[in-house]
């Protein structure tokens, strides 16, 4: 019997961080021992989207967020991945004390391929969504209206900018228009879930 296809309606949108964590998963062999290298937050993403996928629901994001990922600096992403204590533990267990550039490039290439291959998954949906200038401005105005709050002041200092990227704003606008929640580990979203909810955007913090 053919399996039932996943729903065409998207049930959850992922932000760039969640896509990155999900895609940083590599099956490798060291000295004949199979090991799985994965970002611990990728496990949390799987815990959230796994039941949706099992229930034939769809998960996705907007094209702009996916296009932004290589530009985010895949080199830094690989460095962050390698420096993660869990990855360090696995690597040292198999006797790898330092990771040479050729291996970092292997994982960068593998990671970027996984991002590209997301669309091969039956449950994955990608939306070509471009907000209008008015929608972008409205969302920026909403975000900047929180500037007086102390937690926003702290956040701006930490992040070094007073507004999310255009890709994240577009994701929020898409979520609002299509009434789809966003799974996010980005402070721009997860630190202000109540405020975003008031604006019409449901944010599910990854942690």
């Amino acid at each position: 019997m053919e399996s039932e296809p996943a729903s065409t309606k998207i049930n959850l949108l992922l932000d760039a961080n969640c896509i990155i964590y999900y895609c940083q998963r590599f099956d490798e062999t060291f000295r004949g021992t199979a090991v799985q290298l994965y970002h611990p937050l990728g496990e949390l993403v799987i815990q959230v989207i796994g039941p949706l996928i099992s229930a034939k629901k769809s998960v996705g994001s907007i094209s702009a967020v996916l296009s932004e990922i290589p530009d985010k600096g895949a080199e830094e992403l690989v460095d962050d991945f390698i420096c993660n204590p869990q990855i360090q533990r696995i690597l040292s267990r198999v006797g790898v004390t330092s990771v040479p550039p050729r291996l970092r490039e292997r994982w960068q290439s593998g990671f970027l391929k996984k991002v590209k291959k997301l669309r091969n998954n039956e449950w994955w949906r990608e939306i070509d969504f471009i907000p209008t200038n008015a929608e972008l401005q409205e969302t920026k105005d909403f975000y900047r209206s929180m500037a007086g709050e102390s937690k926003m002041a702290d956040h701006i200092v930490k992040k070094g900018k007073d507004c999310p990227s255009n890709e994240d704003l577009a994701l929020a606008i898409c979520a609002k228009k299509l009434r789809i929640p966003i799974l996010s580990n980005d402070g721009d979203f997860k630190k202000f879930t109540a405020e975003w909810s008031g604006f019409g955007v449901d944010v599910i913090p990854l942690i």
Binding site: E28, G73, E75, V96, E105, Q108, S109
Partner: protein, 259 residues
């Protein structure tokens, strides 16, 4: 330029050469044209050449032209050396295969055939021996020079801002330098094949570093298709001569890449 031709039948370069020239006298010429296409023209020729009495030679080329003759795609005559002639059926097969091949690759291959098929035996032999059969000393010196250049470029890249492209070039140069250190190929023809490929790769890296010296931030905007193509070919060569496993291979034991 995409130069990978893994999905084509192995004999395709033989048919291509004969489709270009119609008739070719001498196995020597066929072997050397295919060899030069492989080492000088960035064409993925799926034959492994080794040093023989008359320079670079592949037994598989001979096996394949015999099979092509049995299949009626070429005619073979043996008099004062082999004479190869493509049949109408062979021409039709060659054209069908070529329709699937990248146009830039075909043009590169066409220029190679045009250039070398006109040369006489002695001229071709002199060229191949003079340029492609290195002495041990010359080989060691070239390897050492390339290793130093790769190291210099890696140091230059260390000062660049992080980007996906920077890590790619860094990884490519590091892989090339590691391959230079691990290579233990004995056959002079195969050593030359390896050396040419690694030189091309490091020259790609050098050209990119030179072009971005004054403004390293533009590196992230570059396409780097040539570097990727050359790197893919180089990984194939490293696997072919058991120097290093492919960097992107799925079942690679990473120990071999780490040592």
């Amino acid at each position: 330029m995409t130069l990978r031709t893994h999905d084509l039948p192995r004999y395709w370069p033989i048919l291509f050469v004969l489709d270009q020239v119609g008739t070719l006298r001498n196995n020597f010429h066929l072997q050397k044209i295919l060899y030069l296409a492989q080492v000088e023209h960035r064409v993925s020729i799926p034959y492994t050449f080794a040093l023989d009495d008359y320079g670079p030679y592949s037994r598989t080329v001979k096996a394949d032209f015999m099979s092509l003759s049995s299949a009626g795609l070429i005619e073979l005559q043996y008099g004062d050396g082999w004479i190869f002639r493509i049949t109408n059926e062979g021409r039709a097969v060659a054209r069908r295969i070529c329709a699937m091949v990248d146009k830039d690759l075909l043009e590169e291959f066409r220029q190679c055939v045009d250039k070398w098929s006109r040369k006489g035996f002695y001229e071709l032999k002199r060229y191949v021996y003079g340029k492609h059969i290195l002495t041990d000393k010359a080989y060691a010196e070239e390897k050492s020079d390339l290793s130093v250049l790769a190291e210099t470029l890696i140091s230059q890249l260390d000062t660049y801002p992080t980007s996906s492209n920077k890590l790619l070039i860094h990884g490519v140069l590091d892989y090339a330098k590691t391959a230079l250190g691990k290579e233990k190929i004995n056959d002079p023809v195969q050593r030359n094949h390896f050396l040419r490929a690694v030189a091309r790769l490091i020259e790609d890296g050098s050209a990119i570093c030179t072009a971005t010296t004054t403004n390293p931030t533009v590196l992230r905007e570059l396409g780097l298709a040539q570097l990727r193509d050359d790197f893919n070919q180089f990984q194939d060569i490293c696997e072919q001569y058991s120097v290093l496993p492919s960097l992107y291979g799925e079942n690679t034991d990473l120990l071999a890449l780490l040592r």
